[in-house]
């Protein structure tokens, strides 16, 4: 049976998170279809049709689908679900908002935030903030699944040639309305939601020196984090703290600068997709988890990196 992926998009373009959901879906079935529910969403629909390995794109274009309100999108997905063995979405805030509503209406459990597909009914998912991986089997006839985006390599955004089919949805539920949004584009992103995080530790040496961490972060459009040692030493406020007693983050790229890598810090960032460490102590434990390690003086290497990014 085919698998349906609920697209995440802004009507004009497809959110790359969808590509990871497609990747998970293609491990479940040879036939992957995408639902684009939106308003004036032909841009997103075209992008979906171009995704490698997608057979068909269903498009429900109506004004009340424009902002991914769960009350409107969920019944639409449920209506389509008969034709599919699985319904997947990326585990983004939209996916997390809509999919449990879909599952409840279908009277099935949701399998949240999967990191691996073991079989068509068996999945791995992190529990206890990622400290434990559970393998679970769904006993329901149909599966509703959200996909942890950092756990799957996205499929190619180009190269596909899916057919596009317009479908009719239901009327506006009237249960909720979109009012507006405040996406912090100009400022630095929130730690918890950032794709890239640049974090400084005690090696940074002072509050003033933290400016170079911020400069690199701004260059990368990244959030700024810190280890507890840096917070305790008074370099940055407490809400910068990543770690056991701070925020637990899992960005696509985590750059740890002057951070030794105590387990308390690793507990907060070890699920990051790619970890970079810059530290002058080559014995520092952070290198034990870093995908790319650079041994060197951060006061030299960070400005070099800022310059290299301009190249």
């Amino acid at each position: 049976m085919a698998v349906l992926v609920l697209a995440e998009h802004d009507n004009d373009s497809l959110n790359p998170a969808t590509l990871t959901a497609v990747a998970a879906a293609s491990q479940l079935s040879d036939t992957v279809e995408i639902l684009v529910a939106g308003s004036n969403c032909s841009g997103a629909a075209e992008a979906a049709a171009a995704v490698a390995g997608v057979a068909k794109v269903l498009v429900a274009d109506a004004s009340h689908y424009g902002n991914a309100l769960a009350e409107n999108v969920a019944p639409l997905v449920v209506k389509l679900s008969d034709a599919y063995s699985h319904v997947l979405a990326a585990s983004t805030t939209d996916g997390k908002n809509v999919m449990p509503r879909v599952a409840a209406l279908m009277d099935v459990a949701q399998i949240s935030d999967i990191v691996a597909v073991e079989s068509e009914s068996v999945f791995k998912r992190p529990i206890y903030a990622g400290n434990i991986i559970a393998t679970v089997e769904s006993l329901d006839p149909k599966k509703v699944v959200t996909v942890r985006t950092t756990a799957f390599d996205p499929v190619a955004a180009e190269g596909g040639s899916a057919t596009v089919e317009n479908i009719e949805g239901d009327a506006d539920s009237g249960l909720s309305q979109y009012v507006g949004q405040d996406l912090t584009k100009s400022d630095r992103p929130e730690l918890a939601a950032a794709d890239i995080i640049v974090s400084g530790g005690r090696g940074v040496g002072s509050a003033e020196n933290f400016a170079i961490i911020e400069e690199l972060a701004d260059k990368l459009g990244a959030a700024v984090g810190a280890s507890r040692a840096a917070v305790d030493a008074g370099y940055v406020p407490n809400d910068y703290q990543v770690g056991q007693t701070g925020k637990v983050v899992a960005p696509g790229l985590y750059i740890a600068i002057g951070i030794s890598g105590a387990i308390q810090h690793l507990a907060g960032m070890k699920d990051s997709k790619v970890i970079v460490a810059i530290n002058k102590d080559e014995e520092a434990p952070i290198f034990g988890v870093a995908d790319y390690g650079l041994v060197g003086d951060l006061f030299k290497e960070v400005p070099n990196m800022i310059a290299a990014l301009d190249k």
Partner: protein, 544 residues
């Protein structure tokens, strides 16, 4: 400043450990037996009863048998009787079995998690209508106009680092009582104030201490010998330093392993934490843990002064029980039974006083009198000379112990003296640095990954609970003369010397503190005062 509310009880007990809970239980038992109205409240600074409890532990059930004779039917978590005692002298490479000293025979005793035992004891107390409030630290002693203790106040919650009131500030609460029982455990922060205020230590030997560091391991089933108790002396201590290990096999594949070192050690380079790690690498020890998994870690100071260090126990309005008073039997390395018995005895004396309608603050003088007639006194008196003999070094002390225990049976016509632990450390210049092996991450670990397993946390924004009388001393004295010994004696990585702008300074990572109290004891100039942080801060020991 916000006005504090108050609540009235007949008895407030500070500390939900074995002695405090035994006091509360015995009080309510007496009240129910005699149909008396008696309100008892227990305050516990840990997030729950048992959260801050750390012990070996082999328990002698003598006091429990007296307090709750039907403990088995009530489901007390005493599951593993001791089946075998081993006492071993270690050299660097070898393990030489010794005759187990008489105090260390454990027939009839049980290997337990004292934390779980306290959780159970807390339930027994609540079933007897004791009000048990965990997550509230007694931070201040309240005195009436005549100077008698009239209760305690819990600490404020939600103060910021600079002491100002944060957005969620809640002022502390006064708990007034006719009698306040201090059961804070070793080196209680309020008990320390009482010693001074009421001169309770006049005429007794100074208290001396040890630090115990413990890990809980889940070992491979083939290596698990339920009921096996092993104690070692010797390596890795030198012959002059008092220390030894314990390994207790209990329940399902669990082994408690720990190392206790006398805080009268002389070399400021000594690190109790690293000694514990090194101990596990001994050829006779490491195999037990190979292939196993360390699941918990913690540390706690214990009182080691014994009989001659027991202070005056009562004062107007209150009294001291348990290890706060120093009832630990050092050669037995057990204090739960004596601590509980002290609490039960205190409860009986308090109950008598409360029945006799005296106006004004009461002092339960019957408590020391009853205690002197109990088995606690007899037991501690007999053992009084063993620990101090270790001033002479391990081998003379063991020889002396043999004579004292076996020949004189504790009736020697002399009593040996103690020196306070903060006076015993020598300048670094006179000592050899110790080269500890690097942790391997499987058998041996660094401090921070150890603290991680203690589940320790403190609200981040609160004032530092490790207070310095003089903040120049850490660098000017401790770092200069004693090579920054606090970095090493602290088993939780609280104290760190770091260089900022070319100058060394002490960084206090108060969040890591596991409430062991070693810094309050060992700092050479007694410059560090441990005060209670916000209630529920500190470790959350599971199964310790």
């Amino acid at each position: 400043m916000s006005e504090r509310e108050s609540m009235d009880f007949d008895v407030v007990v500070v500390g939900g450990g074995p002695s405090g809970l035994a006091t509360a239980i015995r009080l309510r038992q007496l009240a129910m037996e005699q149909g008396a109205d008696l309100t008892v409240c227990v305050l516990e600074k840990g997030s729950e009863v048992g959260a801050h409890i750390l012990s070996g532990a082999v328990i002698e059930p003598r006091a429990l048998n007296e307090l709750l004779p039907d403990w088995k039917d009530r489901g007390a978590p005493l599951h593993t009787p001791v089946s075998k005692d081993r006492f071993v002298f270690l050299t660097e490479k070898r393990a030489i079995p010794f005759i187990t000293p008489p105090q260390m025979h454990n027939e009839g005793n049980y290997i337990i998690s004292l934390g779980n035992f306290c959780r159970w004891l807390g339930e027994q107390a609540e079933a007897l209508e004791v009000e048990v409030y965990a997550g509230f630290a007694a931070a201040e002693i309240l005195y009436d106009d005549a100077g008698a203790v009239m209760g305690v106040a819990t600490g404020d919650m939600g103060r910021l680092k600079d002491g100002s009131e944060g957005p969620n500030f809640e002022v502390g609460m006064e708990l007034h009582a006719k009698q306040t029982v201090f059961a804070e455990g070793c080196r209680g922060s309020l008990t320390k104030q009482l010693f001074e205020r009421f001169d309770l230590r006049d005429g007794v030997e100074p208290q001396v201490y040890g630090i115990g560091i413990k890990e809980l391991w889940e070992v491979e089933p083939a290596k698990h010998q339920p009921g096996l108790v092993t104690h070692t002396v010797g390596w890795p201590m030198d012959m002059k330093t008092y220390g030894g290990s314990f390994q207790y096999h209990f329940e399902e594949n669990l082994v408690s392993v720990g190392y206790v070192i006398g805080l009268d050690y002389a070399n400021p380079y000594l690190s109790p934490f690293d000694e514990m790690q090194r101990f596990k690498t001994h050829p006779s020890v490491r195999d037990t843990f190979a292939g196993g998994k360390r699941i918990a870690y913690g540390a706690r100071a214990i009182s080691a002064g014994g009989f001659q260090s027991i202070p005056k126990l009562t004062f107007a309005g209150g009294l001291i029980v348990g290890d706060a008073a120093g009832f630990l039997n050092v050669p037995k390395i057990k204090g739960t039974h004596t601590g509980m018995k002290s609490g039960m005895t205190a409860a009986e004396a308090i109950f008598e006083e409360l029945q006799s309608d005296n106006a004004g603050a009461i002092e339960a003088r019957g408590y020391p009198e009853k205690l002197e007639r109990s088995w606690v006194w007899d037991e501690l008196y007999r053992e009084r000379n063993i620990k101090p003999a270790f001033h002479w070094g391990l081998l003379p002390a063991m020889a002396y112990s043999g004579i004292d225990s076996l020949l004189l049976r504790g009736k020697a016509p002399w009593t040996l003296h103690h020196r306070p632990d903060h006076t015993t450390v020598k300048p670094a210049a006179d000592c050899q640095p110790i080269d500890y092996p690097k942790p391997d991450g499987e058998l041996t670990f660094d401090k921070l990954s150890s603290v991680f397993l203690s589940n320790t946390n403190h609200e981040e924004e609160q004032p530092c609970h490790l207070t310095l009388k003089d903040d120049t001393i850490p660098v000017a004295l401790n770092l200069e003369k004693y090579a920054g010994l606090e970095q090493r004696y602290c088993p939780a990585g609280v104290y760190e010397f770091i260089e900022t702008d070319g100058k060394m300074q002490l960084q206090i990572n108060a969040q890591n503190c596991v409430h062991c109290k070693t810094c309050d004891i060992k700092d050479p100039s007694q410059n560090i005062t441990w005060v209670t942080p916000e209630g529920s801060g500190g470790p959350n020991y599971p199964n310790m």
